[in-house]
């Protein structure tokens, strides 16, 4: 497993390494010190495993295709936004708009998701271990949103 230290190389350094398909395809990565930064592991387009050791900011795993992304902590706004395929797994809670507009793949949130979970979803499967906030699956067109807890008012 390759280790990418975000504190050392920044978000751009982490994402550049993951986007280098000649090197990153079918590999496993561990991202240390995410420090709540935005857009970590966005736009991946190859089979690979990415494990993020802590809490992330906005849009983590956005536009994902094929990759398996494990977030060991809290995910900020728009986790797995517009995911096409692959998987994003959050071990903690997620902020609003988790899986927004996503076309495919699987988003798993072990804790609670906030408002607008799966807003305008277009084919993604989302499983939330806890509850979701208001306007979840608003404008949903296709896909499945499974909520193990409660859903707030629309």
């Amino acid at each position: 497993m390759d280790i990418l230290d975000l504190k050392e190389i920044g978000v751009r350094g982490v994402n550049s390494a993951l986007h280098d398909l000649e090197l990153s395809r079918n590999k496993s990565y561990r991202i240390d010190n995410p420090m709540g930064q935005h857009s970590i592991a966005c736009g991946l387009d190859a089979q690979m495993q990415v494990q993020i050791e802590g809490h992330v900011g906005f849009y983590c795993g956005g536009m994902n295709q094929q990759a398996e992304i494990m977030i060991k902590g809290h995910a900020g706004v728009g986790v797995a936004e517009n995911m096409m395929s692959g998987m994003v797994h959050v071990s903690g809670n997620a902020s609003e708009s988790a899986g927004a507009t996503a076309h495919g793949g699987l988003l798993v949130i072990e804790g609670d998701a906030s408002s607008r979970c799966g807003i305008s979803m277009k084919g993604v499967d989302i499983v939330v271990g806890g509850s979701v906030g208001h306007m979840s699956a608003f404008m949903a067109q296709s896909g499945n949103l499974v909520i193990c807890g409660d859903a707030d008012d629309a």
Partner: protein
């Protein structure tokens, strides 16, 4: 935009580190609010017979000691002045209303930015890190702090339009968002005898809280009424003598995240502000719910 942050220390042993723990929180929110910044710090509570004022003047060379001597002679009271940059903390045993009317008569250009037993408010235009450093807050001890980094959308970039806004004794408010009924509400509050220093929407929210609390409401009641009467987008963080409160509008589209450990409670517009705190990796983290009032130290 705008960034707001709050930090409340549950573990008293950390109080000497409050200023250094809070600095990276505020600085991390610079990209959300590069225009101006402000903080409220709760520290060094005064005696029960005394009151503490946070005053500001646009001239950094303003002679605060002279003001203090004049105040002392006029009202026959004790006055202690602690100037820092464009601000000065004044502690006196005179009655609050007498001090306010004396300042309004004799020093019209001096602005009262806060008052109470322990609150001190500092705010200024400029990058947040520079503002924080000019008020010498990095080594500050205290129990809790709230702060704001401003990207102005509703009114001019001025020191007076910077947050926090005082809302009564030891109370102040910072805001991320924009209000839509502030002009109507301002007229209504002016009828109730509230005066305004700016055209700022947040000042109206602060004035609303001031009016409610002055009318006998508790902070919780004032916030509950505010949810009904204040229209617009907002995440508010309200500093109180013993802690802070967080409330979001019913739509809740202005970001907010909260985190708690055994040692502290923190709120911020984005988690990256909280990520600098020791123990944040093991903290309980969640997004505050809409129309829900969270209060620590009630």
């Amino acid at each position: 935009m705008c960034g707001i942050v709050g930090l409340y220390l549950k573990n008293a042993e950390l109080q000497s580190q409050l200023g250094s723990m809070f600095k990276p929180m505020l600085v991390e929110m610079s990209s959300r609010g590069p225009d101006s910044a402000g903080v409220a710090i709760y520290r060094n509570p005064v005696e029960s017979s005394q009151i503490k004022f946070s005053l500001a003047h646009s001239n950094p060379g303003f002679l605060w000691e002279t003001l203090g001597a004049n105040l002392s002679a006029s009202l026959n009271c004790e006055v202690f002045t602690s100037p820092v940059a464009t601000h000065c903390i004044i502690i006196t045993d005179a009655a609050e209303t007498e001090v306010i009317s004396w300042l309004e008569t004799n020093y019209t250009e001096v602005r009262i930015v806060g008052s109470g037993k322990s609150i001190e408010i500092f705010k200024e235009v400029g990058p947040p890190e520079m503002v924080y450093e000019q008020f010498d807050l990095e080594k500050a001890s205290g129990t809790h702090m709230i702060g704001h980094t401003r990207m102005a959308t509703e009114s001019a970039v001025t020191t007076a339009g910077s947050h926090p806004f005082a809302t009564g004794a030891d109370l102040c408010l910072v805001h991320n968002g924009s209000l839509s009924n502030h002009n109507l509400l301002r007229v209504k509050l002016e009828y109730e005898g509230i005066t305004f220093q700016t055209e700022n929407d947040t000042e109206v929210a602060a004035a609303y809280m001031t009016w409610k609390i002055r009318s006998g409401a508790t902070l919780r009641q004032a916030l509950e009424d505010g949810i009904k009467e204040i229209d617009g987008f907002y995440t508010f963080c309200i500093g109180t003598q013993d802690g802070f409160a967080v409330v979001r509008d019913p739509i809740a589209c202005k970001h907010a995240v909260m985190a708690e450990t055994d040692d502290w409670v923190a709120m911020a517009t984005e988690f990256r502000a909280i990520a600098h705190l020791p123990g944040s990796d093991q903290a309980k983290i969640w997004e505050p719910e809409p129309s829900t009032i969270y209060i620590w130290g009630e």
